[in-house]
């Protein structure tokens, strides 16, 4: 390891510690809980069935987080600014079931007992991917472009 690899994270780490130390000066209101206080049943939650007002930190209405088909399909928009909110209910392993650096089993096989989940690549994807991949390769890039492509390179060299 050369010096750069260590000094930069170390400097960043120090900066961050300082930053979070300063955050102690901030008011305590608006802190989200570490876990959701109520255990939720299996299946996509509709926040507004139980919550009325707005989230206490961002003041966004709970309806923004209702897990509708559109929320699930486009969750990347919610995740880009709200990862801390997702983390109330989701461990990182929930997300890595679908996207990680190195996955070997298709999500639809790993979670084969959950046909209600919105999992990519159901059925014979080896055939279908040749067509779907041409329609929109940018979606594929998000999961296979820089990672999780060890299998792809057996054919795509």
């Amino acid at each position: 390891m050369n010096r750069v690899t260590w000094t930069i994270p170390a400097a960043l780490g120090f900066g961050m510690l300082l930053m979070t130390a300063c955050s102690q000066l901030l008011p305590a209101s608006g802190n989200l809980p570490s876990t959701h206080p109520e255990a939720l049943p299996q299946g996509r939650p509709v926040c507004t069935e139980c919550h009325e007002a707005t989230l206490k930190d961002s003041l966004k209405p709970y309806a923004v987080f209702d897990h509708t088909p559109s929320f699930v399909k486009d969750h990347r928009f919610a995740a880009q600014s709200e990862e801390r909110t997702c983390a109330i209910c989701h461990k990182q392993s929930f997300c890595t079931d679908c996207h990680a650096n190195h996955n070997e089993i298709k999500p639809s096989l790993k979670l084969g007992d959950r046909p209600d989940r919105d999992l990519v690549h159901r059925g014979d994807y080896m055939t279908r991917h040749k067509f779907e991949g041409k329609l929109d390769p940018t979606g594929c890039y998000r999961c296979h472009g820089r990672a999780n492509n060890e299998k792809c390179v057996t054919c795509h060299r």
Binding site: I8, L12, S23, Q24, T48, I105, T127, P137, T138
Partner: protein, 427 residues
């Protein structure tokens, strides 16, 4: 593997020091797949890979707010080699994440150190390093991370030297959430050799009225010095249960794919532009006669190099009984000339009764022209599960497939899920 071993040692050292009040959770999944693979011209292979996923979480270790999280998997082949890789091996594994987190009791402030995933604005990265975020006064928020990127594949050293980035956000009264985010990776491997990887982005969430919401992002590739992506989504919720959304995406592949490690597949060396727009509508009824959800989707894809394609789809989900979930869906993909057009239909059902559960999934594709001599392709999966105890469950599925890829093929999968929780916390 070395990292895995040192994580395990760290775990072993930390475990005894965890005082009372620590909440420990462990969960594991063992999956054994049984498949016969026959590629014409090659000997038939029976593969039975056993994959072990293991997660470990400890909350409030010694200090309130300090937690540890760990996840990884390993695979062992019980029969022939199963790996589909250019460098096959009979065992494999991945250390997905392992980090310590400290949550302050104010302002959603937290620090993480170790290996983890970061999602901040345009950054979606797996790093070995540190992360911190906090809310600031007057609606500002800040997040920063730095460290070493996790190697992208194992054949080469395809990762940069170090990575850093973050997001600065501004929120206003439940109406607006704006973010500026950036990412810098030194010596990232690209098609053109080791280059810096720089991305800059802006993201928005804007809700002028509680029924209307605009979200999206734009990103700028600081290395190619061009805009890479615009993606925007406008949703309206006129009445409870009804959501309608339109979206628009515009991506320059040259700049979006610039940092791929498979340039043969995600070719950054062309001027192709990708554009897409579409709409989704979904309606959910929660009460009488029983819960149901209908959704319709339309997408239009435009690629300069390949032409215009459309996707029309719809799905109906019904929950006629408390523990019975069913769904049917259909989609028509009308592709541009030179790309296969096809239909896709799917039906599923899931039912649980006491400790037992059953699930069924059938998916069919009808291609407009034949692929490897077949136009119709279908796959049916049936499975069942039994919860031996609330924290130990066995399940399994059998799949029958008659598709261009699999000729009258039967595959099986066995799964064991177990969890331990010292307090009985959430998922």
């Amino acid at each position: 593997m070395k990292r895995l071993a040192s994580m395990a040692t760290l775990l072993a050292l930390l475990l005894p020091s965890m005082a009372a009040g620590v909440e420990i959770g462990a969960d594991g999944t063992t999956i054994i797949r049984i498949e016969e693979r026959s590629v014409p011209g090659f000997a038939k292979q029976t593969v039975a890979p056993a994959t072990q996923y293991l997660g470990f979480d400890a909350e409030d270790i010694s200090i309130k707010g300090l937690s540890m999280h760990f996840y990884g998997w390993g695979r062992l082949d019980l029969a022939d080699d199963s790996a589909e890789s250019t460098t096959p091996r009979s065992t494999d594994g991945n250390f997905t994440y392992g980090y310590l987190q400290y949550r302050f009791d104010k302002a959603n402030a937290r620090v993480k150190a170790g290996r983890f995933f970061v999602y901040e604005g345009i950054a979606a990265e797996q790093i070995d390093g540190v992360y911190a975020r906090t809310d600031l006064n007057k609606g500002f928020t800040i997040a920063a991370f730095g460290g070493i990127p996790v190697r992208l594949d194992r054949d080469g050293m395809t990762k940069g030297k170090y990575i850093g980035g973050g997001r600065l956000g501004y929120r206003y009264g439940g109406i607006l959430d704006l973010g500026v985010s950036g990412l810098h990776e030194a010596d990232s491997p690209t098609l053109y050799g080791k280059e810096k990887r720089q991305m800059l982005g802006g993201d928005i969430w804007f809700s002028p009225h509680r029924m209307v919401e605009l979200s999206g992002r734009s990103s700028y590739n600081g290395t190619t010095e061009e805009i890479a992506e615009h993606s925007y989504l406008l949703s309206v919720r006129p009445v409870s249960g009804l959501t309608a959304a339109v979206h628009y995406t515009d991506i320059r592949l040259k700049d979006y794919f610039a940092f791929t490690n498979v340039p043969s597949l995600f070719n950054p060396n062309n001027g192709d532009k990708f554009r897409s727009h579409g709409a989704t509508v979904s309606y959910r009824i929660t009460k009488l006669p029983f819960p149901a959800e209908v959704s319709l989707e339309y997408r239009h894809f435009k690629r300069d190099s390949k032409g215009n394609s459309d996707r029309y789809g719809g799905e109906i989900r019904l929950t006629p009984l408390d523990k019975l979930n069913t769904g049917v869906s259909y989609a028509r993909i009308a592709a541009a000339n030179g790309i296969m057009s096809y239909n896709e239909a799917r039906a599923f059902a899931m039912y649980s009764y006491g400790r037992f559960s059953v699930n069924l999934d059938a998916i069919g594709n009808i291609y407009d022209d034949s692929v490897y001599g077949k136009k119709d392709s279908y796959e049916i999966t049936g499975g069942c599960g039994y919860a031996i105890t609330p924290s130990l469950r066995v399940s399994g599925e059998a799949t029958y497939a008659d598709t261009p890829w699999y000729d009258k093929d039967v595959r099986g999968l066995l799964r064991l899920n177990y969890s331990y929780n010292s307090k009985g916390a959430a998922q």
